[in-house]
């Protein structure tokens, strides 16, 4: 019984940390409409999640070439949502490779 106490404490602490982490991470929503992002600049914290929803009737693409924060959603059909977690601090430029004028700057704070 005594031997299990440290294990139980560790599990409890891990659960608390996980819960705390979930509570701190925020969710953001960005919509692509009329071939523009609904915002041009977005401020988030490390660990926050941004859900992109294609609100247009055309297919979009999402990508970032920012070093350490590269990603690509190659094809995002109308109506579909995709979520990106911003795991590192820095400034990330999110773009659409199909519609070159679409740009979103995400400032990721520590």
């Amino acid at each position: 019984m005594r031997a299990n106490r440290p294990l139980r404490m560790a599990l409890l602490l891990a659960a608390l940390a996980a819960l705390t982490g979930l509570a701190l991470a925020e969710e953001f929503r960005v919509v692509q409409r009329n071939q523009e992002f609904s915002v041009r600049d977005l401020q988030v914290r490390v660990g926050d999640r941004v859900t992109f929803t294609n609100g247009d009737s055309v297919t979009h693409n999402l990508y970032s070439e920012t070093k350490g924060m590269e990603f690509e959603i190659e094809l995002q059909p109308p109506g579909r949502s995709d979520t990106i977690t911003f795991a590192r601090p820095g400034t990330v430029e999110v773009r659409c490779a199909i519609h070159s004028a679409m740009k979103l700057r995400v400032d990721v704070k520590p």
């Binding site: 094809l75 059909p77 490779a97 199909i98 519609h99 070159s100 004028a101």
Partner: protein, 343 residues
């Protein structure tokens, strides 16, 4: 709103006349004075993109006009911008693909240069970030050729000195021609007049075509906005059957699969004036273009998901062509004037 825009244009025209008279009286003033573009009905003045480091001035535009038509600044002194961007052909090329300074065919059909003041990425693949960037890196010329061929022309020396405060330079050539190009604005088409309230400006066929364009035919998915272009890059299948050295379009710039064999959506303004069509000039007429899209393009692994069979009957296709013909607008006569070249 339209009436107000028209009234403003008229007011601006009066101001420009005054400015031009003042410039004639004092050439130095004309050289430095910013030139206010006359934006025709249907175009959005707020969307003009004039680089801060290359403002429009009357004398720079005039210099650019001369250079645009001058063959001497190509390596072989045989081609000018106007060789492929022909004013009488909608500022595009009547040939399927253009012919370069060595007499060899180029890879692509010359796109129109009208209404380029509303976007930046240049060329079918958007491989240059601005008109200045494109003009500075044209394969048919070089800084050395420009200085050797144009440097001795006294009238150019004087103009470059007034406009840029330098001798004849490749940078100045690029800035002057880019400025001239930005004055080529086409608007005030039957479509624009219809949108502004003149119901008779469009024929019944063109009105039916407009409804198809925005509806069943879904052309407006990509050919949207006042300039009828999303400035996007799409794979329609054109040119994808080529095995030996295929043209991969935007992919060559971005290396992204979604851009494979994708090419920029061209403006549809003045489209009836400038066949053949598509980036390789492979479709001769607007009827062929509409039939091509009706078939859903050419199947290939990277075909845009937004291209699909349309199911248009022959009468609907004819209505679409009637609408496209109604996008032929007007370019200010002074903008399209062909100059005499200095010797």
């Amino acid at each position: 709103m339209r009436a107000s825009l028209s009234a403003n244009s008229s007011y601006r025209t009066d101001l420009r006349r005054l400015a031009f008279a003042a410039a004639l009286a004092c050439p130095a003033l004309g050289a430095a004075q910013e030139f206010k573009l006359r934006v025709p009905l249907g175009l959005d003045e707020r969307a003009l993109l004039i680089p801060v480091d290359n403002p429009l001035t009357r004398e720079k535009i005039e210099l650019g006009r001369q250079l645009f038509f001058d063959r001497r600044w190509s390596r072989t002194q045989t081609v000018s911008c106007a060789s492929c961007h022909q004013p009488e052909r909608g500022w595009s090329d009547e040939r399927r693909v253009s012919i370069d300074h060595e007499g060899k065919p180029t890879r692509r059909h010359a796109p129109t240069i009208i209404n380029r003041a509303f976007s930046t990425l240049e060329g079918w693949a958007g491989h240059r970030d601005s008109a200045e960037d494109l003009l500075a890196k044209l394969p048919f010329t070089s800084a050395e050729a420009i200085e050797r061929h144009l440097g001795p022309v006294k009238a150019y020396q004087a103009q470059f000195q007034r406009v840029f405060g330098t001798g004849v330079t490749a940078d100045g050539v690029a800035k002057a021609i880019a400025s001239f190009q930005r004055t080529l604005l086409s608007g005030n088409s039957p479509y624009d007049r219809y949108r502004a309230g003149d119901a008779a400006a469009l024929s019944p066929a063109a009105r039916r075509g407009l409804a198809l364009f925005e509806g069943k035919a879904a052309c407006a998915k990509c050919h949207n906005g006042f300039n009828f272009s999303d400035q996007g890059f799409h794979n329609t299948g054109i040119g994808t059957g080529i095995v030996d050295n295929p043209d991969l379009g935007r992919y060559e710039v971005t290396k992204r699969n979604v851009n494979r064999a994708a090419f920029k959506t061209p403006t549809l303004r003045d489209v009836a004036r400038r066949g053949p069509y598509m980036h390789d000039g492979s479709l001769a007429t607007l009827q062929e273009v509409v039939a091509f899209y009706d078939r859903g393009g050419i199947p290939n692994p990277a075909l845009s998901p937004d291209i699909a069979r349309l199911g248009l009957v022959a009468a609907e296709q004819a209505d679409l062509v009637a609408f496209l013909e109604a996008l032929s607008g007007e370019i200010a006569p002074d903008a399209a004037r062909v100059p005499s070249l200095p010797r």
